[in-house]
């Protein structure tokens, strides 16, 4: 059965252990070329006559890249122009070892039939296997292996041509290593650098821009020193081996690098394995070329060099290469110094392609340009491009290639163009890309999994479900909601108790495990809501039609039905798959009207009143247990129906009915969590919300003290109570502001798999419940789909499947869901920001605001009406400005100018405009109007006396 010889490969592991592995050589590995008449292969991947216009290689050819080319020039290889590439197993394995993301991209290429990438398993091929020579370094060995394979291909393709007349196909080796290339050329192989090759592609000049700027192997250390600038701006990174020993011995600490959003010269490193510990890093040299999210090694500074974070807001403004640093540290304030360190080396870069704009350059013909990323935590990137002129005013994507010691900025290359700056579609695209939201249309494979329309309920369906079509079920949702995933009912039972049901769309009936549809949904994780757009997790047919529990239509549901006393004590809980027919799909306002309308007494209205009464009891009980009510301001934009530009905005109003629906959803989630945990102790998907460390509350306590209010933060209960008591009659907004600040002290709630944590960690702090999960929104969250499946198995309504019960896979899924959830939130906020900007375009608006934080050179102001937060710079950014009348008092967090003192919670009036001077990077600018500070505040605009009037009416454009 095996036509192979046995070889024994000996490797050393851990220095001492000898590992003996078998290595079978095969003669049934085919070459993958359609031009070959010898290999009996079904579907050759490589084309018989590969076509690409190259002035260097004017004949049909395949490419063989070496490892470094794949690692550094993936953007070129991923371009649709580059096809017919042979990826050697040796190369693939080395790439896999060195960079997971590049390996993934390489795999994507080889799985894409249009790219004609063929993976040749050369190490198991009888003729291309090469034994390692004594004393040969692994680099030399790999080079030799690649040469052997290249030579074999040349010979093989020449000797076994299918069609004698067809032009000979040759293979071209791409390597940037000079030595390797010379060796190959000596052996008579065709070898070029990627740069030579790409520049010779006459049909695709734009590819040149995508070349990464690092020339590995070409420029040695001596080259760098000999460069004209000759300056070395950064300390050297220590080699990985030294970092590892340092980390082991405890001299260095490993952690993720988190750049500060406010100040580009500051960052924190979150130490791995000790989540509460973070190290502060300040200044160019200490940051040492780390980029946000890198995994770095940090050395602690001696305690007398510890710094305190400057309370300054600092943005990298000027494009000069000067290294002068604004004075950040206030060494006097020793008492506030926090553990500080410096980055000694980078363990793993976590670079990704970044969106942004090109910074306009003074010289027109220049090819070297600076790129400004949209994400403020990312430094500017230097790129080389010949199309700067066409790229001005465009949103582009750029990748970082490297960051040499003598360059102030990292070097990168252009990847692609997105569209015009300020254009809403482009900006939306940027937003989605920056937050890594998968937003491509659903693929055909996914759409094939959908049920055929028109869809209807069959007899078989009814046989295995409870028929609840006669119950007075109704749904209550925000206006304009098309993906209705929950409905409720209420009935009084003869024994004096009541029956309450929560009916959730039965999405898992349609999304079966491991189908392309399921995998796509698992990857997307949730539906992302932008102001003017919804990025669905599942195709629209399901989300807005078949699964949506629309009024007066028969739908499948997963029901959770309780028997309760009238005091909302649960007597019994049961779960079932059902068929329902919602009697009415209402908005919150409509439901509220029905409840209030004394003349209506139909079953639905009766139910609503009953539910409302129960919800009030439930809510009170929950709050008594210590559940927090936090505040955040949400706004809704009214959008022009034609231009889709925002024309008005309002803050979302909360009605009794909102909280009514919410209470029952919480109750359902808790009931389901208990059920699945008891049936699947090690693989239930739950949601936890850890208690924040006490230090998180410092800012809240300080804020309270400034107004003479004590905030207790020992438990969620005491926090809730002290928040309730913290009211100042003269300042009605004070309480809301406090709640907004406390929201920011909280930790993220997380999905997790019950088998991975001790039970004491299951706690949900914000809701004050020992166990919680998500069950009620399977249309827009994938976690709910998993919970539905678990629950279906535990009530014997469905089969289980392997991945559902595997706690490692489940936890891996949770990690993805947590990431997607966070990103969806950020994307949502960014979308609001974008729309706010569009809204204020060409307008000058004045509005009331409250000081939320006082910084060294700025105050941050919250404008409740629009729900956004802006920064008023009080001093020029380098902090040395003498033009400002303000004096900062760190002790009591205040800024004083003459007799005007700005403190936390102070009411101010600000003027909002969109800064247009800087066309590249539009942003909102807010300026102080009141209190008046001569020489600083701006005079109010003519209509300023009518501040309270909605802005739309003021400025009609």
């Amino acid at each position: 059965m095996l036509k192979s010889k046995t070889f024994v490969k000996k490797t050393r592991k851990g220095g001492v252990l000898k590992v003996v592995r078998e290595h079978y050589l095969r003669d049934d590995i085919w070459c993958g070329s359609a031009a070959c008449g010898e290999c009996p292969q079904d579907k050759p991947v490589l084309e018989a006559e590969p076509e690409i216009d190259s002035s260097l290689c004017g004949f049909p050819h395949y490419l063989i890249p070496d490892t470094n080319v794949v690692l550094h020039q993936m953007d070129v290889l991923a371009d649709s122009a580059i096809r017919n590439v042979i990826v050697l197993q040796t190369v693939q394995q080395e790439v896999r070892h060195r960079s997971g993301t590049t390996y993934q991209r390489l795999r994507d290429q080889s799985n894409n039939p249009d790219k004609n990438f063929y993976v040749f398993t050369n190490e198991h091929h009888r003729e291309t296997y090469t034994e390692r020579e004594q004393g040969e370094s692994s680099n030399d060995y790999n080079d030799r292996v690649i040469h052997v394979a290249t030579r074999w291909y040349n010979k093989h393709l020449q000797e076994n041509r299918k069609d004698g007349d067809a032009p000979k196909v040759k293979v071209v080796l791409l390597t940037n290593d000079r030595e390797n290339r010379e060796k190959a050329q000596k052996e008579g192989l065709l070898a070029y650098t990627v740069h030579q090759y790409v520049k010779s592609l006459s049909g695709n000049p734009e590819l040149v821009d995508r070349l990464a700027q690092v020339d590995m192997g070409e420029s040695t250390d001596s080259d760098i020193k000999n460069e004209s600038t000759g300056r070395v701006l950064f300390p050297e990174h220590l080699p990985l081996s030294q970092l590892q020993t340092g980390i082991k011995s405890g001299r260095f600490l490993q952690g993720s690098f988190m750049a500060s959003r406010e100040n580009y010269l500051e960052a924190n490193v979150l130490v791995h394995g000790d989540e509460s510990r973070s190290i502060f890093i300040q200044g160019h040299a200490h940051l040492n070329r780390s980029v946000n999210e890198d995994v770095v090694a940090v050395e602690m500074l001696p305690e007398d060099q510890w710094k305190c974070p400057s309370s300054m807001v600092l943005q990298d403004k000027d494009g000069d290469e000067e290294t002068s640093e604004p004075d950040l540290g206030s060494p006097k304030a020793r008492s506030n110094a926090i553990p500080s360190g410096r980055v000694v080396g980078v363990i793993k870069r976590n670079w990704r392609p970044y969106c942004g704009v090109l910074q306009p350059s003074g010289i027109k013909e220049a090819t070297r340009h600076l790129f400004m990323p949209a994400e403020r935590k990312i430094p500017k990137i230097r790129i080389e491009t010949r199309q700067a002129e066409t790229l001005q005013g465009q949103r582009i994507v750029v990748s970082i290639d490297g960051w040499p010691r003598n360059s102030r900025y990292p070097k990168g290359h252009f990847v692609r163009k997105l569209g015009e700056v300020g254009d809403k579609d482009t900006e939306n695209e940027v937003l989605l890309l920056e937050h890594d939201v998968p937003h491509q249309p659903f693929s055909q494979a996914v759409l094939n999994c959908l049920p055929s329309t028109p869809w209807g309920i069959t007899k078989e369906d009814l046989a295995c479900r409870e028929d609840l079509r006669d119950l007075p079920i109704c749904s209550v949702d925000p206006p304009g909601c098309t993906d209705i995933d929950d409905a409720l009912h209420y009935l009084e039972k003869p024994n004096g108790n009541v029956e309450v049901g929560v009916h959730i769309a039965d999405v898992t009936h349609f999304i079966r495990p491991n189908t392309p549809l399921d995998q796509e949904a698992a990857n997307r994780g949730n539906t992302v809501y932008l102001c003017d757009k919804r990025i669905d997790m599942v195709p629209e047919l399901l989300s807005s039609n078949i699964c949506s529990l629309r009024g007066k239509e028969e739908r499948f549901a997963f029901s959770c039905i309780w028997e309760m006393t009238k005091d909302a004590e649960i007597v019994a809980t049961r779960f079932c798959k059902s068929v329902i027919c919602s009697k009415a799909a209402m908005t919150y306002a409509e439901a509220q009207m029905r409840i209030d309308d004394k003349n209506r007494n139909d079953a639905v209205t009766f139910g609503l009143r009953g539910l409302n009464a129960l919800a009030k009891i439930l809510k009170k009980r929950r709050i008594d247990a210590g559940a927090l009510t936090l505040a955040s301001i949400e706004v809704r934009f009214h959008v022009d129906s034609e231009t889709h530009d925002p024309i008005d905005l309002e803050t979302k109003e909360l009605r009794e009915t909102n909280s009514m629906v919410e209470e029952f959803m919480l109750l359902a989630n808790i009931s389901v969590a208990k059920k699945i945990l008891s049936d699947f102790p090690s693989c239930a998907m739950l949601r936890r919300h850890p208690q924040p460390p006490p230090s998180n509350y410092d800012i809240l306590i300080k804020a309270g003290k400034s107004k003479g209010v004590d905030i207790e933060t020992d438990t969620s209960k005491s926090l809730a109570v002290s928040l309730d008591q913290a009211t100042i009659p003269s300042e009605p907004y004070f309480n809301t502001l406090l709640r907004i600040i406390s929201t920011r002290c909280m930790m993220q709630a997380l999905y997790f798999c019950s088998g991975t944590l001790p039970e004491s960690d299951f706690f949900h702090y914000g809701l004050a419940t020992p166990i919680y999960t998500h069950f009620t929104s399977p249309i827009r969250r994938y976690s709910d789909i998993i919970v539905h499946r678990l629950l279906a198995v535990s009530i014997n309504a469905d089969k289980s499947f392997p991945d559902l019960l595997d706690k490692y896979k489940s936890q891996a899924l949770c990690n993805n869901l947590n990431f997607r959830h966070k990103m969806a939130q950020y994307a949502g906020r960014a979308s609001v920001e974008l729309h706010t900007q569009l809204f204020f375009k060409n307008k000058v608006t004045e509005e009331e605001g409250f000081v939320l934080f006082v910084r060294k050179n700025a105050v941050q102001v919250l404008i409740p009406k629009f729900g956004f937060e802006g920064t008023i710079f009080l001093k020029s950014q380098d902090g040395r400005g003498v033009d400002s009348p303000f004096v900062f008092n760190e002790e009591e967090s205040s800024q004083t100018a003459g007799d005007v003192k700005l403190r936390m919670f102070d009411r101010v009036v600000v003027q909002i405009t969109v800064e247009t001077s800087h066309i590249q990077h539009q942003k909102l600018r807010i300026r102080l109007v009141k209190p008046e500070v001569p020489g600083f505040s701006v005079p109010p605009v003519a209509t300023s006396d009518k501040i309270s009037e909605p802005p739309v009416k003021k400025v009609k454009t």
Binding site: S4, L17, V20, L25, Q93, S800
Partner: protein, 263 residues
């Protein structure tokens, strides 16, 4: 038939190991170059010793095992063990000190060896026609000379050949094979590296002609949906092993026959 479930202690390290090694590539090749349903190379010799009544040596890839059979003879130690209607089968499993990467003195009576001996005894009691030899004993000694995954299988296969060499009547050959379920695909005859990936694997010993399972062992959790796939593959593996062993037996017999007629 023996089926036991134990909680594997090594599960915690699984994620790291998975990331380190790609057990099966996208092209369908395993670390050593085999495809998922291919056995390792099997070499066997029968009649390696003349003192014993039967003996055999087998190599399955890098796993090497030696089996010797004595008997049937009268029960020597422990008269109490005598069975009046059949022969007793006595099995002893051991591992050579040099069989693994690190030299380690291995006492014969340790728990794992005892368990292995017991499994072997159960296997061979089921296939040897013991009723033909009442009040007697058959000894099977198996030693692993080199271990590289699938030790039990190599022992069973070697012992089968040795029992045949000893001329003891059996209902059928008994062939053993492992099959694992790693990275969502079933793999046949898993080697030590693949075993240590931490994924579940199944050991099957069966009578290939009648497809009767003599022993089935798995030490970790595997979802019922996947069980069938893995078992099918293992069954196929046992049949493949049978084909190889059968050819060796026939070659051996015709060789001996040729020698005898020549003399």
């Amino acid at each position: 038939m023996c089926h036991k479930i134990r909680h594997p202690r090594y599960w915690l390290i699984v994620p790291f190991k998975m990331a380190g090694l790609e057990i099966i590539s996208d092209q369908g090749y395993r670390i050593d170059g085999r495809r998922s349903s291919e056995l390792r190379k099997v070499c066997a010799r029968m009649g390696v010793f003349t003192q014993a009544d039967g003996s055999a040596y087998i190599e399955q890839g890098n796993t090497k095992a030696l089996a010797t059979v004595y008997g049937p003879h009268e029960v020597r130690k422990g008269r109490g063990k005598i069975q009046h209607d059949r022969a007793v089968v006595n099995c002893q499993f051991s591992m050579a000190t040099f069989s693994t990467g690190e030299r380690k003195s291995r006492p014969k009576g340790d728990r794992r060896s005892q368990e292995m001996s017991m499994h072997l005894r159960q296997t061979f009691e089921a296939v040897i026609v013991t009723e033909l030899f009442p009040r007697s004993q058959i000894d099977i000694y198996v030693q692993i000379l080199q271990a590289d995954g699938g030790n039990y299988c190599a022992c069973v296969n070697a012992a089968t050949l040795a029992v045949i060499d000893a001329g003891i009547p059996m209902k059928d050959y008994v062939c053993a094979c492992t099959a694992g379920f790693i990275q969502d695909s079933p793999l046949l005859d898993i080697s030590y590296v693949e075993e240590s990936a931490g994924a579940p694997f199944l050991t099957v010993a069966m009578m290939p002609k009648s497809e009767q399972i003599v022993l089935l062992e798995m030490n970790s959790r595997l979802h019922a949906d996947n069980m069938e796939k893995v078992l099918d593959l293992a069954t196929q593996g046992c049949k493949d092993v049978f084909a190889v062993l059968d050819r060796h037996v026939r070659d051996h017999v015709s060789e001996s026959h040729a020698l005898m007629t020549a003399s």
